[in-house]
Point group: C2
Chain length 221, copies 2
DNA sequence: ACCTGAACACCGTTCAAGT
DNA sequence: ACCTGAACACCGTTCAAGT
């Protein structure tokens, strides 16, 4: 055996670990990211990964951060601040739809790097909108919380969808049917909204919520 | 041994299991809820619990639902719809502050019973506000997503706070310091907001976000 | 400095067997 | 019908030992 035979094609780096994590998360879902699976994918031992990564939480946050960075990388179009905010929000919505695990990862990373990226992007636009300095943090925080809330729900929906076989139409119909069967006295609103729910468009409703907040922000006072 | 000696004081019921789960979650945090710990608490075997509960997810959702139900149980004060919405939202905020694990449980229970309780309460008020039927679902959905987003972040904050020793002041200061140290070109907004963040009031900002959405909803069209 | 892989201390869930 | 508890198939994480 030559002594300088490399043990593998590429050296094990934090970046390679993160990339492998993303592809594992995308292909096998949240429960598919395992130190053992990762080690096999990278042709190494489970313990080796700990040299580059503190723990699983660190790994998830890093994977999430990499995708959020990519999502926000798109060139900033010259547009009204409100439109940029809409674009950023929709970009996140689409990214989470494509990689549902980001939703759960974001929920567990309070004020960490992926969130800060978003905060910065939204904040610059909120400032450009002319929101008073004293209200800027609260305004950005509201946008952020809303986006994260939708993210989390969408991630959970996707998870359940995968478990139940994936047919979105069927799941919506099932939920709508359950709502229609609720007690008429206790749940009048939910019952009445069931048909609307069945045909609702997550993306359109998401944007409607963003617009609600933006409209509230644009008002004086 | 008499044959009719009861094996334990009380029979094992779904309710007792849920109560024990809540107290375990409150005292030991999210990772403290374990079938083994639960079994010991209830003087039974781990497997016995499965007779009354489908799985851990079912258990978490049920525990969450019980607390949400209690939170929404408070008598509806005769007040303007906006004020009732504020009160409901604040009630949820405080409940999640007291039991951070609700935040994570809610995030994983899309359109399940705890969420439906909230949906109903908010929906009745949105309708009372006079929002057009076609916009009611989107409006409630926005409020709901926002509340869940804040919930999730708060739950994660509490989790990290517990891990790091619990001093909120110190954690805020630490995050603010990290933000101030960010690259000046890439993160101008985050840097500028750091002092504000250090002294921000989660509850006040939460309410400010609710008001933003309510204001947006009250506008025509 | 970086990697190996066995070992540790857990998990949720199942299921034959009991009452 | 309800409960027992051992067993199964996993986890994340650590660490002595290697290169």
């Amino acid at each position: 055996m030559a002594k300088n035979t490399p043990r593998r094609e590429q050296a094990l780096t934090r970046e390679r670990i993160i990339e492998a994590s993303i592809s594992l998360l995308d292909s096998r879902g949240e429960s598919g990211l395992t130190f053992r699976a990762l080690a096999e994918e990278l042709s190494t031992g489970a313990g080796a990964i700990y040299w580059h990564v503190a723990n699983k939480n660190d790994l998830m946050t890093a994977a999430c951060d990499a995708l959020v960075a990519r999502t926000l990388e798109v060139p900033v179009i010259e547009a009204a601040p409100q439109d940029v905010i809409r674009a950023v929000a929709l970009g996140m919505f689409d990214a989470i739809n494509a990689h549902p695990w980001i939703g759960s990862a974001l929920a567990r990373a309070p004020w960490q790097s992926p969130i800060v990226r978003l905060l910065e992007r939204l904040g610059q636009q909120v400032r450009a909108m002319g929101v008073a300095p004293a209200g800027q943090f609260a305004a950005v925080s509201a946008l952020l919380s809303y986006i994260l809330g939708v993210s989390g729900q969408n991630a959970a929906n996707a998870q359940i969808g995968k478990e139940l076989g994936g047919d979105r139409e069927a799941i919506l119909a099932q939920v709508a049917a359950a709502w229609s069967a609720l007690d008429a006295d206790a749940y009048p609103f939910t019952r009445s909204i069931a048909p609307q729910f069945r045909e609702h468009d997550d993306r359109a409703d998401f944007l409607a919520g963003i617009d609600l907040i933006l409209r509230g922000m644009a008002l004086p006072g």
